[in-house]
């Protein structure tokens, strides 16, 4: 009796796992109807053996699909087992997992069956059941199906915490190469529509005319690009991400290193290593743009279209801009301190508060928790020795790589170790 549901879950979780979004934060949904669940800061309930967080029950409603996108494991022409959940099954699974504190909520995606509206309607029906009948206030992430009607999208937004549509490939050219039936324009339309509707709900709330404006996609929208299936440069990838962050107020762009799943000769061969280090560098760049005040053009430009693999993008930037260093920890602006390699947001905050009590010394900086061995080349503090000659970038890079706890050195170029 268990076998059928177990097989379905196996197939439909396996098919959904290439969507890397795992976030369950950013929604302030409270359990104020004596129902079950809430959604706030996000919790990773476990981590798989690949080190990725498991926060949501991430499944496809079905892996039947009318499209034949070369990069997708559920493409029409692929010879894989197909399955479909019923609405009841998804609701029951979600509740059963949630009540046991296995998950923060549901991430529901689907292959496109029949047409966009038909698929979207099923997704909405599940979210609606969870919210209205089960009084479920946990996190719901719904995929926006491109081409679905605005009525359905609006209804979906009233039940979902987050919605997302994947760009799939970083550029239109890349997408056309592997999925000629698709286009970035099809993604931009619904992204724009939902963004505008979010703004509209927020504005209504501000006017105060309507007492309780319902939540509409409170955790915002996100998207995902597959990296390494098509030949885009890091610059093209991050410029595209930057554009989507700006134009559609996205909460997140995810970068998913392509894992070969096909013998299609337009893409990397099955068995070749997924570009994990590159993916990591792209995320670091994304963080620098969102939390460290960097403009993407400072990190990637026509002179430097690729991120270094041996050092992180912040250190690369600093080594290219040694004329801006060293900075004085005791006087420099917060935004300048944030740009020092080895100093993060929390440490920068602590430094700015602590220096009001007196000039900071190196031992205090170490206790505050900065990566002092890296940062020391870029800062001056109360007890810094006098520097006689200015170091040059290649020399400095060498020193840092030698001194660092070999986080970089152990890793062969373009490959992360397996164990």
């Amino acid at each position: 009796m268990y076998d059928r549901i177990r097989e379905k879950l196996g197939i439909l979780a396996d098919a959904a796992k290439y969507d890397v979004s795992c976030s369950s934060s950013g929604s302030k949904r409270k359990n104020d109807n004596k129902g079950i669940g809430d959604a706030s800061n996000g919790i990773c309930h476990t981590y798989t053996e690949d080190g990725r967080c498991v926060s949501l029950l991430k499944i496809l409603l079905t892996n039947h699909c009318i499209y034949d996108c070369a990069f997708c494991v559920s493409r029409k022409s692929n010879d894989v087992k197909r399955a479909a959940f019923t609405v009841d099954e998804v609701v029951e699974l979600t509740m059963s997992f949630y009540r046991r504190n296995y998950i923060e909520g549901l991430f529901l995606s689907s292959g496109i069956f029949k047409n966009a509206d038909f698929t979207m309607e099923r997704l909405v029906r599940i979210a609606k059941r969870l919210r209205l009948e089960e009084r479920f206030n946990g996190y719901i992430h719904l995929k926006t199906i491109p081409g679905a009607s605005q009525e359905l999208l609006t209804e979906a937004g009233l039940y979902a915490d987050r919605m997302s549509i994947n760009l799939e490939m970083p550029t239109e050219m890349g997408l056309k190469l592997l999925a000629p039936e698709k286009s970035h324009e099809d993604v931009k339309m619904p992204l724009g529509f939902i963004k505008d509707t979010i703004t509209q709900f927020k504005d209504e709330k501000k006017t105060g005319l309507i007492k309780s404006v319902p939540k509409f996609v409170p955790a915002g929208q996100s998207t995902q690009m597959v990296i390494g299936a098509t030949p885009e440069t890091d610059m093209e990838i991050m410029y595209s991400a930057d554009e989507y962050y700006k134009n559609f107020s996205l909460k997140r762009v995810y970068y998913s290193g392509y894992i070969p799943i096909s013998y299609d000769d337009r893409m990397p061969m099955i068995g070749s290593q997924p570009p994990l280090l590159r993916e990591n560098r792209l995320y670091q760049t994304d963080w620098l743009m969102r939390f460290y005040g960097f403009n993407v053009k400072e990190l990637l430009n026509s002179k430097n279209p690729h991120l270094d693999t041996d050092i992180d993008p912040k250190l690369s930037w600093a080594l290219r801009n040694l004329d801006q260093f060293p900075i004085d920890i005791n006087t420099a602006d917060y935004r300048v301190i944030l740009r020092v390699p080895g100093i993060g947001v929390q440490s920068a905050n602590k430094i700015v508060q602590a220096r009001k009590f007196g000039r900071l010394r190196s031992d205090q900086l170490q206790k505050i928790g900065i990566a002092y061995n890296r940062a020391k080349h870029f800062i001056r503090c109360a007890d810094s020795p006098v520097m006689l000659n200015e170091p040059d970038a290649p020399h400095l890079k060498n020193v840092i790589l030698t001194e660092s706890s070999s986080k970089y050195l152990k890793v062969a170029q373009n490959q992360l170790s397996l164990f």
């Binding site: 979780a13 981590y47 080190g51 029950l57 997992f97 504190n101 508060q353 900071l360």
Partner: protein, 258 residues
């Protein structure tokens, strides 16, 4: 240097701080009585808990510290760590002896020590929110034994109460032999007697004590955990960093993989 011996309670810690000022001591080493070893040259004082004195110290801290920092003080106390008790003692002295706002001085070793311990306790608190795996018992209560590094149960009460408002649940700290029980109205502290029917040393409940659907739920969760993994990306170092081995026996998805 005088040695103060106290009983490890918050009241005892706060009373010690009171005694320090009352007796105009120069410097004090604070020792938890369960670790105290008398020595010849020791000048020792056994601190006797006193609610009034403790309250006065707490009120004093309240005047000087934001609610945020008072919580940090309390959370660090829950670490049950002997060195942290000394740090809290020194931190309180630093706060009392400095003008308001001194807690922002991250260059001060006591402030930094509390800030660091607060972070560690927070991490453990967060892990309990993440790693709790309820099993539904035959009488409909959701049960989970835990063994947190620090005494964090008081910090997760409201989280579980708000989230699981429509189901009864028990979270039992096996190491400290007490737990929380939510009866659909309020959360109460329970002792080992409350769960005496259960062998709390074993994580999984025996089949006869669980709900009919419990086994399937657990099997499906394990299936899901394995299906959502991408073998081509295997990274056990990262996996273990996020899910340290000492928690594995409480996680049904990791069962038998130690």
């Amino acid at each position: 240097m005088t040695t103060y011996i106290f009983d490890g309670s918050l009241e005892g810690l706060l009373t010690s701080i009171f005694e320090f000022y009352d007796r105009k001591e120069k410097s004090v080493q604070l020792v938890w009585n369960k670790f105290y070893q008398p020595s010849m040259l020791d000048e020792a004082l056994e601190v006797i808990n006193d609610e009034t004195k403790a309250r006065r110290v707490w009120e004093g801290l309240k005047k000087k510290l934001s609610p945020d920092w008072r919580t940090r003080f309390y959370k660090s106390y829950l670490s049950e760590d002997p060195q942290t008790f000394q740090d809290l003692f020194d931190f309180a002295r630093y706060i009392f002896d400095s003008p308001a706002g001194a807690e922002a001085n991250f260059g001060n070793p006591h402030v930094m020590a509390i800030s660091k311990m607060d972070k560690r306790v927070n991490r453990e608190k967060h892990r309990m929110k993440a790693f709790i795996r309820f099993q539904q018992t035959a009488d409909g209560i959701y049960y989970c034994p835990v063994e947190p590094d620090f005494n964090v149960l008081p910090l997760i009460v409201s989280f579980f109460k708000n989230r699981y408002a429509d189901q009864q649940w028990i979270i039992y700290d096996v190491k400290r032999k007490y737990g929380l029980f939510y009866d659909l109205n309020k959360v109460q502290e329970i002792t080992y007697e409350f769960v005496s029917e259960i062998d709390t040393k074993k994580v999984a409940l025996p089949a006869e004590l669980t709900d009919a659907k419990e086994e399937l739920a657990s099997v499906l969760w394990k299936d899901y955990f394995n299906s959502t993994n991408i073998p081509a990306r295997k990274n056990m170092k990262l996996h273990i960093q996020h899910v340290p081995k000492r928690y594995w026996k409480y996680l049904n998805e990791k069962e038998g993989k130690n």
